[in-house]
Symmetry: C2
Subunit: 183 residues, 2 copies
Amino acid sequence: MPKVTEEHKQARREQILAGAQRAFARHGYEGATVARLEEETGLSRGAIFNYYENKEALFVALVRRSSDRFVEIWLEQGFRALLEAVTNEDPEWLSVQVEAARRVRTDQRFREQIERLLEETEGRRQSRYDRLRSVARDDVPIEVVAQFLGMLANGVAFAGVTDDPMPDLDQLMTLIETGVGPR
Amino acid sequence: MPKVTEEHKQARREQILAGAQRAFARHGYEGATVARLEEETGLSRGAIFNYYENKEALFVALVRRSSDRFVEIWLEQGFRALLEAVTNEDPEWLSVQVEAARRVRTDQRFREQIERLLEETEGRRQSRYDRLRSVARDDVPIEVVAQFLGMLANGVAFAGVTDDPMPDLDQLMTLIETGVGPR
């Protein structure tokens, strides 16, 4: 039997994630059945669940991939670029993430996956706080500044989901920068 | 046949709304079947749909009732009181509203109900802007200030749904007031 290289595994994971994201975006969390996951990934359920233990794990891996990308944009290009990326994100994909938020409360298996993800990314959160500290006011705890910005990013995503008119990002940034900038 | 008084109708509507909100919060939007709506309201489907034309209309009436209450708190007690009311809202009820946001994009009947609601409340939005203008900075359009505040309120609601740690409201308000207050 030929040895499966790390490169091959990585390509396979990418194929699964891309197909699964299409399935979730198109059909919603519930509607993305195993049959539809097979269809969109072009792989059998055996192959898919060889890489991700269940549907919850697959979805959480996708949420993590999205969130990593947004954090990277934020760190490298600033918060305005992050908001712009959110407004340009596929609204179907945003909307299934919003829909699935309810599951954190109601679905034990989903909750465990999310908690594991939060533990894994704890170190990166701390380094984000450090970078934020260098540009933000110092009379409010940095955690609150980060929560404030996170809530605004979620608010922009939510407006995309409900098709609310999107605010002018420059003007929105004026309010945000006045709010969190050095005093 | 006895004449049905306006008072009786109003009480019946209230009974339907309270029961339906329990059904949606407990079972999710899809899970709130007509049978469960009957069970939680204590009324037959005939009685329920005599007052609300369909499930979409019933849900939108509930969203409107919630949103009216929050706007009232905002106008009478200020934005901090609004955020506090959001953090004290039943997380199950918040989470079904978040879950249902996806429907605005995907469900035509739902969308029509929401658009009708927005038209009906347009006048009140304008009067809210007028009041906001008297306490906010004037170098950014008041619509953007309102969107900024709405996004933050949604962000706080979303944190409640996903059980994220809630920020200290006084410190959050410091950032918000600096951001939107007069220059």
